[in-house]
Symmetry: D2
Subunit: 368 residues, 4 copies
C-alpha cells in the first residue's frame, strides 16, 4: 500500500512513465498559510538535473494543486497535488520489461503484481515517486514551522567521505534553516569538494556510491508519541523505509549505542531555562517512544544507486535463462544529495501526524 498515517492520511500515486504522479494529504488542519514559493523551493532541491552530480534530466516537477487550498490557506479537506510526467523516454528501458535490473524492485514487483505492473522507469517503485513525498513534506513543514518546529538534514557521508555530525545537545535553528535550503547540504562546506570528486569518479567508472543522511528536528514539545508501536521511532521508520534505497534507520547513538556502556550512554537530566532537559543527547530526543523536548536526531542509510551502466548478470523472466544486462538510462551516480530533502519531508509528515495524534493543542507561534 502506498497509503500512510493516522490523523494525516497520505496517499501517493503514479508511475514513472505514466501520465502523472501525485499525492493526497487528508486530515491537515484548516486555515494554515502555505507559501507556494517554499513548496517550489523544496521541489527544486529534489528535482533531478539541478546539480552537476545529478542526472541530466530536467523534469519540471511543477505540482498542480487540485483541492484542499483556498487562496494561500488550507481548507482542512483533502489536499491533492498532481505532477505531470513530461520528460520520459521509455525507449531507454526497453529490455527491462523481461530482464530485471539487479538491486531494483523489478523482479519482486513482477512477482507481486503477476507481471501486470508498469515497470518502465521503475514504475511505481521509481525514485521519481519521492517528488510527491517532498511536496507533502513541504506542506507539513510549513505548518510545523509556524509552531517553532524546524527540520534540517545533511549528507553525513558519501562512501568513505564524511561530513561533520550534528552536536545533538545544541543544534542551532540557523544551521537547520541553511541545510533545508541547500541542494548539496553539508554542515562543513570543506567536505563538498572531495564528495563531489568521489561522485564524479563513480560516474566516470560507470559505478555508483551510497551514503548516509543525518536529520535533526528542533522545537518539538516533550510528550509527543506513544509507547510500543506508535512511538516516534516506529512512525518515522515506517515512513523512512518507504524511500527507495533506504536500508537502515537509527536514532540518537543508534548502532553506536550497541557498543557502549550504560554509564556512557545514559543522558543525565538537568534543568535548563526552567525546563527539564538532558545534559547530553545520546537518546536523540526520544525516550520510550516519546519526545523528550531535546532535538530529535536520526540517520538513514542509503544504498548505492542500483542503476549502473556496467554489464550485470541477470535472468530473462520469459525464458528462465541467465543473461547479461546493460542499462543505458540516465542515472545519478549518487542519490544521497537528492535524498536529503526527501528525508526531511518524511520527518515533517511523521511529526505533524504524531503532533496531531497527541491531543496536544497546536498553538501558532507566528505573529498571525
Amino acid at each position: 500500500m502506498s497509503s500512510w498515517g493516522q490523523q494525516i492520511k497520505l496517499s501517493v500515486f503514479g508511475e514513472s512513465h505514466g501520465p502523472a504522479i501525485g499525492v493526497v494529504l487528508d486530515g491537515l488542519p484548516a486555515g494554515e498559510r502555505i507559501s507556494r514559493e517554499e513548496l517550489s523551493a523544496q521541489m527544486l532541491r529534489r528535482a533531478p538535473g539541478r546539480d552537476k552530480t545529478a542526472t541530466p534530466r530536467s523534469e519540471k516537477d511543477e505540482p498542480r494543486i487540485l483541492s484542499g487550498m483556498l487562496g494561500d490557506k488550507t481548507t482542512g479537506t483533502p489536499l491533492c497535488a498532481v505532477i505531470e510526467n513530461t520528460n520520459t523516454r521509455s525507449g531507454d528501458y526497453g529490455n527491462l520489461l523481461t530482464v530485471p535490473r539487479p538491486g531494483h524492485g523489478d523482479f519482486t514487483g513482477f512477482v507481486r503484481y503477476g507481471g501486470h505492473n508498469d515497470i518502465r522507469g521503475g514504475g511505481h517503485f521509481s525514485g521519481r515517486l519521492t517528488a510527491p513525498l517532498v511536496f507533502a513534506g513541504a506542506v507539513c513543514r510549513q505548518i510545523l514551522a509556524a509552531r517553532g518546529i524546524c527540520i534540517g538534514a545533511h549528507i553525513a557521508s558519501v562512501g568513505p567521505v564524511q561530513d561533520s555530525r550534528f552536536v545533538p545537545e545544541e543544534i542551532p535553528e540557523e544551521l537547520l534553516r541553511r541545510l533545508s535550503q541547500s541542494s548539496f547540504a553539508l554542515i562543513d562546506p570543506a567536505v563538498e569538494a572531495p564528495m563531489r570528486s568521489l561522485i564524479e569518479e563513480c560516474r566516470l567508472s560507470q559505478d555508483s556510491v551510497g551514503g548516509v543522511v543525518e536529520c535533526a528536528v528542533t522545537g518539538m514539545p516533550a510528550g509527543v508519541g506513544s509507547p510500543m508501536f506508535d512511538g516516534v521511532e516506529n512512525r518515522l521508520a515506517s515512513l523512512l523505509f518507504g524511500i527507495p534505497a533506504v536500508k537502515g534507520v537509527e536514532f540518537g547513538e543508534g548502532f553506536g549505542a550497541a557498543a557502549m556502556r550504560g554509564s556512557e550512554h545514559n543522558d543525565a537530566f538537568c534543568m535548563k531555562e526552567g525546563k527539564v532537559a538532558t545534559v547530553t543527547n545520546r537518546h536523540g530526543g526520544i525516550l520510550g517512544g516519546i519526545t523528550s523536548g531535546m532535538p530529535i536526531v536520526f540517520r538513514v542509510a542509503v544504498k548505492p544507486t542500483p542503476s549502473i551502466s556496467r554489464p550485470q548478470q541477470s535472468v530473462d523472466l520469459t525464458t528462465g535463462e541467465e543473461t547479461t544486462l546493460s542499462i543505458h538510462g540516465r542515472h545519478d551516480p549518487c542519490i544521497v544529495p537528492r535524498a536529503v530533502p526527501v528525508v526531511e519531508a518524511c520527518a515533517a509528515i511523521a511529526l505533524l501526524d504524531l503532533l496531531l495524534s497527541s491531543g496536544q493543542p497546536l498553538p501558532r507561534t507566528d505573529p498571525e
Copy 2:
C-alpha cells in the same frame, strides 16, 4: 498506542506492577494447531532469572489463554492471553515516582500522561511488556512454520565482542532452529565465554552494556510486501522499534551499504533449482519493499540497559531541582540475550501479517 497490524491486529496491555499483562491477537487464521509446549519454550527464553547473566527475579510468566483457542487449535476469533504479575516488589522503585531514571521513559511518560501513568517498574514502558509480544510471536511462528517459514536470531554482538554473522545467501534451517531454542543464542559457541565475562564484569562494576541482535528468516515466498509504506522493511521496523531499548534497525548490508559502490552491492540474478534467485544476498531478501525469496536478514541495535546502580544525575519533577538518583532494583546488566526471542517474535508477527495481507493463499506444508 499499543496496537499494531492490518490483517492481524495486535493489542498489548498491562503495567509492570499492575495486576496482569497480556495481549489480544485478532485476525489469526482458524484451525491452526498451536503447541502449548512451544509457547512455553519461547516464554522461557525471554523470562528473567533463567540464566546467570540475567536478573535473579523468577517471574513465572505463565500465560493463561482466555479465548481464541478450542483444544489445541485456533478458532479464528480473537486470541487473548493474560500473564499475572506475581513477583513485584514495588518498594524498590519508591523514589522513581518523582525522580525520572536517565535513559528510561519515566520523564517522557510523565509528560505524555500528565503524571497519571503507573511508573512503578516502568509501568507500561517496562521490558516486562515484551512477554506478551513473545507469546504472540510464538503463536505466529507456529503458523509460519507449518508453511516452511523458519525464523532464528542470535546475539551478533555485546559491546565489542562479536559473534559470527549469518552467511546471507545460505542460511541452514537447522541453524535457525537451534538458535530459536537457545537462551543465549550464538552462531559460534566459542564466543559465549568472552561475552558472559564482559556481562559479568558490567554487573560487578554496576554498569550495563548494549549489543546487536541479528535475525534471519528462510522460506518466505517471493512477492510479499508492497512498495512505499507497506513494505517488509516498513512493517518490520514499525514493530521492532516497539521493543524497549531498540535504537536502530537495518536490512541486508544496512549502514554498511552506505560505504559501498553499486558494483559491489548489487546482487546479480541467477537461476537456482529452477527458480530466480540472487548469487549474493546483500539486499537481505527485500527489494522495493517486497520479498525476493532469498533469506530475510536484519539487525537491531539494543542500547545498554539504562537501569544501572551507580548514582546518576536527575531532576525532582515535584520541586524542579537537580538531584542524585540511585536505583536499587534488580536489573540485567545486558538485555541483549533476552532480546533475541523478542526480535524473533516481532519478525513472526510482522511476516504473518504481511503474508495474510498479500492475498497469497496460505498452503500448509506439514503432513496434516
Copy 3:
C-alpha cells in the same frame, strides 16, 4: 475483526463458553476519574436475570481491571478488563455444533472459520460479548459526562407497542440520566405494562419479538466529525452494527425523511442563547457528517431473538441433510430492554473517539 476505532482502539475478545471474555481500550486520555460503582451499575443493566422479562441465568459479569487504571484514575495506557465465564452449561447446546440455528451466525461462522470456531452458546458471536462493550462504554461515558455530554436511550418499541419518542429539539438531561439508570428504560412509564405483557406472551408461546431502541446525546459541541467516511453517522453505524441482532440504523428523521418534502424536512437556523441552533431538529444533530450542537438522535432496529424453543427446519452440516432443530437453552424472548445499555455504550465509545479525533481540546466541566 473485533477491533474498532482511531484515537481509541477497542478490542473485544472471548467466547460465550470459553474461560473469559473481555476488552482492551487503548488511547484513553490519562487522569480521568472512573467510578467503579457506575461501571457496575451499567454492567448490571445489561446482565441477564435481573428482570422477569429476561433470561433466568445469573451471570455475575464482574469485570476485573487488569491494567490502565491507577487507583480510580486512568493511566492513559491500555485499559484491559476481563469477565470470567462462570455459569455456562454447554450441554444445552449439544446439537448446535452440527445443525446451525436459524437466524444465528452459526452457519456463516462455520463457513468463515472452516468449522474451527467455538460455537457453544454462539461463541464469539454470542450476545454475551456485549458485556465488554457495555464496560467500555461505561468508561467512555464517564469521560464524556465530565465534559457535560449526556447519553440516554429507551425502548422505542417492542413489536407493535410503542413508547413516546424524544422531542429532538429539547431533550432534558434529567430524562437521559433517568433512562441511563433504568433496566427497562421508557420515556412513558405507562407503556411498561403492555410491553411486558407482550414479551411474556411471546415467552409462553415459545416465540420472541423485536423492537427499536432510540438514543439521544446532549452536550456534544458543534464541529465534531468529518465529511464523507469519518462522519458521526458512519462511525456510529460501524459500531452499532456490531451489536448482534441490529439490522438497521437511522439518524434524525431517518427513513421517515424519505417520505418528506424539503420544505418540511429542512431545519431553519436561529440564534438561541447567543449560539447558532436550529428551530427543529429533524437532522438529528448531524449535518454533513458533523455535529451541529443540537442533540444527536438515532434509532436502531433489533430483530427478534433468533433462539426460540419451537422446532425449526435446518440442515445437518455433517450429512448435508435437512433436519428439525429444537433449542432448549435459556433465552430472552425479547432482548430489546437489555440492548438499551449496549446502544448507549456504543454511542459513548464512538463519540469519545470522534471527540478525540477532532483536535478540539477536552476541557473538563466538573469542579475537579
Copy 4:
C-alpha cells in the same frame, strides 16, 4: 477523513468549485481488465443533466486516469482518476459564504474548519463528490463481475410513490443487470410516470422530495465478513453514510424486523442445488456480520434535497443575526434517481474490500 478501507484504500478529494475532484484507489488486484466504456456508462448514470428530472447542468465528468492502469488492465499500484471542474458558476452561491443553507453541511463545516473550508457549491461536502465514488465503484464492480458477483439497485420510493421490492430469495441477475444500466432504475416500469410527476410537481413548487434506494447483490460466496466490527453491515454502512443526504441504512427486513416475531423472521435452512441455503431471506444475506451465500439486500434512506428555492430562515454567521436566505442555484428536486448508481458503487467498493480481506482466493469465472 475522506479515506476509507482496509485491503482497498479509497481516498476521495476535491471541492465542487475547485480545479478538480478525484479519487485514489490503492490495493486493487493486478491484471484486472477494466472496460473504459463501462466506467463511462456508470459515470453517465450519475451525471447531472442526463434526465429531465435532474439538474440542467451538463458537467462532462470525464475521468482522466493518471496511474494504476497499463492499457486496459490494472497494474496493482494506486489507481488515481481526476475529473476537472468545468461548468461552475460560483456567483450563484455568493451569499452562502456567510449565511448557511438549512439542511446542508455549510454551518457544521464552518465550525469544523474554522471558516477556512471552501463552501462554494458545498465544497468538499457537495453531491458532486459522489462522481469519484461512482468511478471507484465502476472499477470495483468489474472486478466483482469477473467473479460472478452482480450488483443492482432501484428507486424503491420517492415520497409516497413506491416501486415493487426485490423478492429477496430469488433475484435474477438479468434484473440487476438491467437496473445497473438504467438512469431511472425501477423494477416496475409502470411506476416511472407517477414518480416523475411527483418530482416535477416538487420542482414547480420550488420544493424537493426524498426517497429510498434498495440494492441487491448476488453471487457473493458465503463466509465473507467478520463478527462484531468488520461485518458486512458495519463496513457497508460506514461507506453508505458517506453519501450526502443518506440518513438511514437497513439490511434484510431492517426496521420491519423490529415489528416481527422470531417465528416469522427466522429463515429456515435448506439444501438447494447441493448447497446450504435459506428458504426465505429476511436476513438479507448476512448473519452474524458474515455473508450466508443468499442475495445481499439493503435499503438506504435519502432525505429530500436541502437546496430549495423557497426563502428559508437562517443566520448570518458574521453578524450573528437571523436572516432570510434564498438559494438561486440549479438543483435537483429529487436526487434519489442519481443516488442509485452511487449506492451501487459503495456496495461494489465495500464488497471487494471485504472479499480481499477474507483471505478467500479470488478465482475468475470469466473465460480469460
